[in-house]
Amino acid sequence: MREFQVSVGGRVYNVRVPKEGDTLLVDGRDCKAALVRVHGNLYSLKLDSRSYDLHVRPDDGRFLVLVEGSEYEVWVEDKSRPRRPASVLRSKEHKAFEIKSPMPGLVSSLKVAPGARVSHGAPLLTLEAMKMENEIRSPRGGVVSEILVRSGQSVEKDDVLVRLRL
């Protein structure tokens, strides 16, 4: 039996995987799951008898999982390997959290200052791109430890904008 802690969109699941068989324990409940790769990053998950098409991209320590049109960020931690040093995953997920620019654009205004405590969904800054003003909100709660951009600055996709202490 292996044990994983999985974090998805603010929700944490405990998943236990037996050595044999298809039955996982998710938060203590039975769940018959089998995954098969269709092609490339396209998978088919059979959960009980229902099947789901999934596109799973490993990305910077996490997985980006497309389920029925929506993309989820999934962080997986292997609890069965406690003797390993805290993994990169773990440090990213649980210690410091970087908010990156989802697109190239121009920072038009900052909404927070270092030291501010922000909750999930709090506006951090606005970014002008695709002819629109776009609000960048915090994907999770924490304390703003660092702001790496200033108003009027051009940023590229994936530039780090803000660091949070969790």
Partner: protein
């Protein structure tokens, strides 16, 4: 005007509309010339055209808006006509004039019509003289704040500030009370200047809970005008349409006929040529008011094609070549119901934040009653240079219920990986009770955003994502952490039929 068979068309656009125009040309035996920016070297419209020429850097001003270069290519490649699509140069009277001065046909209205209807105040004047009601509002541009105050007071708040120089929601501001007027006027003026090079704004009465209903028209060079029925476009965000359908659930056949003939009158008053759209607002009392004319092919034209069987781009090409309209009004008999969902590269759950990146996987929906217009392919880069509209999903059904069911099925079948899209948002809307009942107005999306809804059946999706994360993580490591090996396997078996929702909700 003499009839002239068009041999070769330059398509002055990109993305799905360029490809859509190229398809009709190919079907009509007309050769096509694509132009493209450096960002679009491998774009589908480039590869499907008969010929293609690079015209400049990604920024639209240096490529898709560069009139000189485009006309130069059209002449060098021996085109006889230019199709502007929508957006970019499609509503520029200067471009239309310069194309025609170069001896090429402009596939659209005359420069004179575009100019007259592009001036929103003049357009209101033209159509109201033709006996079509317009939204109450000022007949001249706002001179200054005190002028604005005076006019706003006359019509009563809320009012709407609108650009004189162009449509599409650019430069528009709702003003709920007088104290907001000053800032709104400054913002609207600035936005209007940058969008249209014309700072003039005017004031209209802001209608509460209006429906946006528009009529597709066709006019030829011989003053014949017909209409192809209406489209309801009330699912909007920031005045940008998101979902359109035809027929409208809100109007009955009497009002439908009335609005149709009003649209024809409006078009005749401006001696309209080519395909165009006459937009109306319809208020709670089912009174209709002229809004504006879009002097180009419209994003949502496919819903009209699905119902009427006509190819609107083909009609544009025939009209441009000097043919008169092939159809009598009574021969237009729309069938069934059609809906269009616009798929944007945006994250609806994050305030419709644009999403850029490479299409990592693509599986278009297919099958009965579904049409997809897009220029996506695996590997396509979605950049921030251009509009975020990446695909249109159009459904047809024998009735509205079937059109909705098919749309629902198609959106679930459609896989676009690598960027965030509004597919979940569209699923949310078409399954919403208000939409299903046909009881929605232009405030629908704003309500959605206010309530901070999540479009996704979050728990279910998160659980599935979590499980697949664990199983793929197991596979990803060279030394499998999941011994027994049965989690990632070549197949499945199993007999349990209970739904996961029953267990986890």
């Amino acid at each position: 005007m003499q009839s002239h068979r068009i041999q070769k068309v330059l398509v002055a656009n990109r993305g799905e509309i360029a490809l859509r125009i190229i398809r009709t040309c190919e079907e009509m035996g007309i050769r096509t010339v694509a132009v493209y920016s450096e960002a679009d070297r491998t774009a589908l419209h480039v590869r499907r055209a008969s010929e293609a020429y690079e015209i400049g850097p990604p920024a639209p001003l240096e490529s898709y808006l560069a009139m000189d270069k485009i006309i130069q290519v059209a002449k060098a490649a021996k085109c006889d006509a230019v199709h502007p699509g929508y957006g970019f140069l499609s509503e520029s009277p200067d471009f239309a004039r310069r194309v025609e001065k170069s001896g090429l046909l402009f596939i659209g209205p005359t420069a004179r019509s575009i100019r007259a209807l592009g001036d929103k105040l003049r357009a209101r004047d033209i159509v109201s003289r033709a006996g079509v009601p317009v939204v109450p509002g000022s007949t001249e541009p706002i001179r200054d704040l005190s002028h604005a105050r005076q006019i706003a007071a006359e019509f009563g708040y809320p009012v709407l500030l609108k650009a004189v120089g162009g449509g599409g929601g650019r430069g528009m501001r709702i003003v709920k009370e007088e104290k907001e007027l000053g800032q709104a006027l400054r913002e609207a003026t600035a936005e209007t200047r940058s969008a249209f090079g014309d700072p003039r704004v005017y004031i209209e009465k802001y209608l509460r809970h209006p429906r946006h209903i528009e009529v597709q028209i066709l006019g030829d060079s011989y003053d014949n005008v017909i209409h192809l029925g209406e489209r309801e476009c009330s699912i909007q965000r920031r005045f940008q349409k998101m979902i359109e359908e035809s027929p409208s659930t809100f109007i009955d056949d009497v009002l439908r006929a009335e609005i149709g003939s009003a649209a024809v009158r409006a078009a005749k008053a401006s001696r309209y040529r080519s395909a165009g759209t006459v937009e109306f607002l319809v208020d709670e009392d089912k009174k209709y008011y002229f809004l504006e004319v879009n002097t180009r092919i419209q994003v949502e034209h496919p819903v009209t094609e699905m119902r009427t069987g006509l190819d609107i781009v083909e009609e544009q090409l025939r009209i441009a070549s000097g043919e008169s309209i092939r159809w009598k009004q009574e021969e237009i008999s729309p069938r069934g119901h059609s809906i269009e969902c616009r798929i944007y590269a945006e994250d609806a759950d994050e305030g419709f934040l644009p999403s850029v990146g490479k299409i990592a996987y693509l599986r278009p929906a297919q099958g009965n009653g579904i049409r997809i217009d897009s220029a996506l392919e695996m590997g396509t880069e979605i950049t921030s240079y251009y509009d975020a509209l990446i695909s249109k999903v159009v459904s047809w059904g024998i009735d509205r219920a079937q059109a909705i069911s098919r749309m629902d099925r198609a959106l679930r079948e459609y896989l676009i990986a690598g960027i965030k899209t509004t597919i979940p948002f569209c699923l949310y809307v078409i399954n919403h009770k208000a939409f299903r009942n046909g009881e929605y107005d232009t405030g629908f999306v704003q309500e959605f955003s206010k309530r901070n809804h999540q479009t996704t059946a979050a728990d279910d999706g998160r659980l599935i994502a979590a499980i697949s994360g664990v199983l793929v993580a197991g596979e990803a490591k060279e030394a499998p952490i999941l011994t027994g090996g049965s989690q990632i396997k070549d197949g499945w078996s199993g007999w349990k039929t209970k739904r996961i929702e029953q267990e986890y909700h």
